[in-house]
Amino acid sequence: MSQPVRTPTDLTSAVAGGVGESPQRPDGNLKVRGEFAYSSDLWHEDMIWGATLRSPHPHARITGVDLTEALKVPGVHAVLTHADVPGANACGVEQRDQPVLAVDVVRYQGEPVALVGADHPETARRAMERIVVDYEVLEPVVDAEAAARGECAPLHASGNVVRHVPVRRGDQSATAEVVVTGRYEVGMQDQAFLGPESGLAVPAEDGGVDLYVATQWLHVDQDQVASALGLPLEKVRLALSGVGGAFGGREDLSMQVHACMLALHTRKPVKMVYNREESFYGHVHRHPAVLHYEHGADRDGKLVYVRAKIYLDGGAYASSTAAVVANAATLGIGPYDVDNVTVDCWGVYTNNPPCGAMRGFGAVQAGFAYESQMDRLAGVLGLDPVEVRLRNAVREGSTMPTGQVIDSAAPVAELLELVRDRPLPAATGGELDLRQMPGGVSNTTHGEGVVRGVGYAVGIKNICFSEGHDDYSTARVRLEVVGGEAAALVQTAACEVGQGLVTVVQQIVRTELGVQRVSVLPMDTSIGNAGSSSASRQTYVTGGAVKSACAAVRARVLELYSRQTGTGPAEVGRLGAELRGGKLVSSHDVLADLADVLGGDAVDETAEWRHRPTEPIDPETGQGNAHVQFGFAAHRAVVDVDVELGLVKVVALDCAQDVGRALNPQAVLGQIQGGSAQGLGLAVMEEIRTKDGKVRNPSFTDYLIPTVLDVPPMGVDVLERADPHAPYGLRGVGEPPTISSTPAIVAAIRAATGLPLTRVPVRPEHITGT
């Protein structure tokens, strides 16, 4: 079969820009020209369109399916159900508990039931309307706390608790002079990446399939797709297409198996593209949470104990709930030093939409609750909210509730001081500009009823995979002479999802091998696993693999030099030879031109790299060195609130974050500002609202994400406290800013209104009380 068009190409840059600089993205020109090949742009001359029939019910038994009329629609090539799944009808990123297509029961609204392949998307839609599915509607389980207590009918054979993680440290019956309690709620947030789930599956001569897709983790998809298709791994080849954002929402499968089934069945290339409504049903969301907290402190505000019960609603299938639970539990008291801790976190099955990975991954939900509690404590004690945090902040050497000692920089106090000491924005006033007012040009206020508030928060996130996961990546680096000049090529399966990994790997190669021209090959499964583009881990782990492959290449170059010049290896070692500026140099001399050393040879090395191991946590006590690194960020938010209408304008949202070492300072700012804006969304706008398990707002008309009018200027202070365990001392950047942004904004709204505000997103009626 011929090749599809609009698949990714090599990305080559021949500019200066090593580690610590901010060279332009190698895909930037393509993206601004509209020529970058995203997964929804894929095209094949013989292709047909795939579509998915989904359950309208959150919980129902399927009593019959009739495809007769659908198959009669002209232009329809195939209509498939679970009976057509060639291999195991089971998928899931951690546990394979989700059917590829529903068999006899559906557990959430939007669960895939049947597939159509047709010559036009409209033909497919018409055929889907003619599929008759008989449902016997069942009572949906929608209360996560009740599910955790075992009070609901089990939705899976294992019961409704996906995982319970207890964390026990110190005196479990400690008492304190000052006690504050609270119950908090976090709504269900959507990743709302802009590029819809999409891809193209092309049947291959060998009976296998080539799948071009937007994902976060090629190899975990490959595993699941191969198992569902009943094919060996080598017959299921995945290639990454352009990804329009991810934020956790592409860690689970969406259309991958479905498109492949249709392609293998029809022997035609099959393109699938979700529209926005389907996208809301087609990926997991951030777990909504109910969190009960009790903080005990002495009169000076020093924490004596923290007790918490956290309930995370995982929805119909496990997805990554188990890992999210571990995060919420182990990071559940925040970046504070507390001797006595009792945390229990449950992740449960319900008939709500499935929830899994989203930026911040369990740390976001806990962060809103523990920071709200710190403000409450400050209020009771009459202390400044920053001061109460400073008195309890962890530092390097502090012990986490899991017993893990923080063994690199933890400048939590300094981050708080940085945001506190930034100049405050000027008061709104003077000449009236409606655009600066809550309500904007809706002309709802000219300043009357508008109150300003300032709030602070800080957060903690684990970086990389935890709990003993074998977390590694694979990179191949090739060095050869191209056009008279030494040039490098780098290949990984690490997904570029927008974060700029392609830029960073080029920078690493430039720094390590002293060349300017670096090509990044398209990512696919022809090379080993890179792990997921999640957990703020790719620069750390794939960066580490690229660095390590470069070291192997450099060693080979030195061997070549040693052989060519008859300089013994020991002597070469003594010279401290390095590759810089296209040359082999010693500390004081140019030894040779790299192009001359290489001649007609190519040096090609592949390396697998893993970070230092972590440990599982004890299932009874939560004790263990579960995490490899911690990231910290702090925010200060300034808001204007129209207290009569309940409208909020975030006026400023400044952040300070320790990034260990900024490999690409411009990209670091982009991560911090983008993460802060997503936290703003959770604070005041974003929630998938469900009723009896049904989604009420699956569109960008009703699910609002921040526009440029909603997001204020965001000043950023970047600290670089190197972590000696990490490549270049770097600390994962992507997630920490998403954690503290939300509670800082809510704290500011509380400061403006005096209201307790225990739920996010804060809606106008929470402020007006109507």
Binding site: R6, S22, Q24, R25, D27, G28, N29, K31, V32, R33, G34, E35, F36, A37, Y38, S40, D41, W43, H120, E122, Q191, A192, F193, L194, G195, P196, V243, G244, G245, A246, F247, N275, R276, D433, R435, Q436, V441, V497, G498, G500, Q666, A667, L669, G670, Q673, G674, G675, S676, A677, Q678, S699, F700, T701, I705, T707, V708, L709, V711, P713, M714
Partner: protein
């Protein structure tokens, strides 16, 4: 039906167009111009912004039949051969591009703003881009890019 339309200065036609197809679908799936993006297909995100007779529109909200004998300019038609438009260049330089899915729409919207108002202040930039969602950047670098593009065009 058959649709005849001038796209980026070239006369184009598409056959067998179903009446319900949008301009966005025709551009992306029939004319080989996937630059305009399909983030929502309901007029909420601006990722599909193109010029229709010199006025920026959401291509997903325009029915294919409506463009008969009219002129469309897409993001693919902004650069002059290898030379990027100053707005495009500024987006790359300012770091305004992450995943880039919002970028084509934002580039066209910013291009239109700067034609109308060569040196806009920040509130004006924000207002002009308010119909274009970006999920990655938090907009700070996009504002930088528009300021930079204004400076480049003024230079």
């Amino acid at each position: 039906m058959r649709v005849n339309v001038t796209v980026n200065g070239e006369a184009r036609s598409a056959d067998d167009v179903w009446e319900g197809e949008s301009l966005l679908y025709v551009l992306r799936e029939r004319l080989g111009l996937p630059g305009a993006k399909n983030a929502c297909e309901q007029g909420e995100c601006g990722s599909c912004t193109v010029y229709l007779d010199d006025v920026p529109v959401c291509a997903c909200l325009v029915a294919a039949g409506q463009v008969q004998d009219r002129e469309v300019r897409t993001v693919e038609g902004l650069a002059d051969g290898e030379t990027l438009d100053p707005v495009q260049e500024a987006f790359v330089q300012a770091g305004a591009v992450q995943c880039g899915f919002c970028t084509p729409g934002l580039v066209v919207a910013a291009h239109d703003l700067l034609r109308r108002s060569p040196s806009p202040d920040d509130p004006e930039i924000r207002e002009a881009l308010a119909g274009n969602l970006c999920r990655c950047t938090g907009y700070e670098k996009i504002l930088d890019a528009v300021r930079l593009a204004a400076a480049k065009r003024g230079a």
